[in-house]
């Protein structure tokens, strides 16, 4: 339970907020979005960026700088969480191994199943990332799947070391390559994250210029960060 008895001031506030929201929502006509900017983007996105997925083109071409800021926020959150939990990659392996030995070991079925699922999840993540400009999906979604793929074996075999040094290198290189692709666009076409490599024909795997490369960079960065976060939280029990 949240609390043993209701909090009357909080309930009163919620009631007032509900009245306010009802008053606001009554004037919003559902289904009649004006979408002046959205209409314009829908008209030119496929022609300008070559991506069939308009959301991906907004995320990585029209608003690419914003996505870079988002990656910075995620990086700060992951670094902060690692710092607070006190897991430096110097002593991550030995200490964690010594502490998690008190847990009962995972069963045979879970171990073999995790082994069986690891390549499957890896392929699924790579597919979702690399088809991000054609179908729903992209770097963030595929990165989450990749993080899960690397966390499942850790759950099955708590003693197996997760190579955090490699994860940090992958994360750093992916972030740097995102910035480098952006700067290459600045040098080539005159603005940050300008589409490079030609747009190609809409709907093919090798199209949309640099968007698949950016998706790959985001996927690797997000995947390594989220996997690092989960492994940092998967520590020993506090007593």
């Amino acid at each position: 339970m949240l609390t043993s008895r209701p909090r009357w001031p909080a309930l009163l506030f919620i009631l007032g907020l509900a009245l306010l929201l009802t008053a606001l929502l009554r004037d919003l006509h559902f289904g009649n979005a004006p979408m002046q900017v959205g209409q314009a983007i829908n008209g030119v996105a496929a022609h300008e960026t070559g991506a069939a997925n308009v959301v991906a083109s907004v995320l990585l071409a029209y608003r690419g700088l914003d996505t870079l800021g988002e990656l910075a926020i995620l990086f700060a959150a992951a670094t902060g969480a690692g710092l607070v939990l006190g897991i430096a990659f110097r002593n991550g392996n030995g200490e964690a191994q010594a502490k998690t030995n008190t847990e009962p070991p995972a069963g045979f079925i879970l171990r073999k199943g995790a082994d069986l699922m690891f390549p499957f999840l890896l392929i699924l993540g790579a597919y979702v990332i690399l088809h991000g400009h054609l179908t729903p999906g992209g770097g963030f979604q595929g990165g989450a799947i990749l993080a899960a793929a690397f966390f499942v074996p850790q759950l099955a075999r708590p003693s197996s070391p997760f190579n955090e040094r490699t994860a940090h290198w992958v994360e750093a290189l992916a972030g740097a390559s995102f910035v480098l692709i952006g700067i290459a666009g600045l040098a080539g076409a005159g603005w940050f994250l300008a589409p490079l490599l030609g747009t190609g024909s809409v709907g093919e795997l090798l199209s949309a210029g640099s968007i698949p490369l950016l998706q790959l960079a985001i996927g690797l960065k997000v995947g390594s960060e989220l996997a690092g976060l989960m492994i940092a939280l998967h520590g020993p029990k506090e007593t």
């Binding site: 009962p104 995972a106 069963g107 079925i109 879970l110 199943g113 499957f120």
Partner: protein, 101 residues
């Protein structure tokens, strides 16, 4: 052809409903896992096959989803059952009180 798909979808829906009902009615964690795994696996696989007959161009993806369900569903349930056994959960006997969900 389309009535076969309808029948399969109905079978799938019925088994999913039975699985949910079993999850609610069964007395302890092991019996609940029985209902939640077997009935739901059969229900979802029947549903996926029904969808595949309805939309023949979706076959490859549906096959992969079926494979994934057949792989993960028993894995998850066996892991939960093992964890319940490790923490000392006793199987339910006739006459015991039903556990609160």
């Amino acid at each position: 052809m389309t009535w076969i798909a309808d029948v399969l979808l109905l079978i799938g829906a019925a088994f999913l409903f039975l699985g949910a009902l079993g999850l609610w009615r069964m007395p302890d964690v092991y019996t609940r896992l029985q209902a939640g795994t077997k009935a739901v696996t059969l229900g979802s696989v029947a549903m996926l096959i029904g969808v595949g007959i309805e939309r023949p161009d979706w076959w490859p993806k549906l096959l992969l989803i079926t494979l994934f369900i057949l792989l993960t569903s028993p894995l998850g349930s066996s892991t939960v059952a093992r964890a319940a056994r490790v923490i000392g959960q006793r199987p339910w006997r006739a006459g015991d009180a039903k556990e609160t969900p």
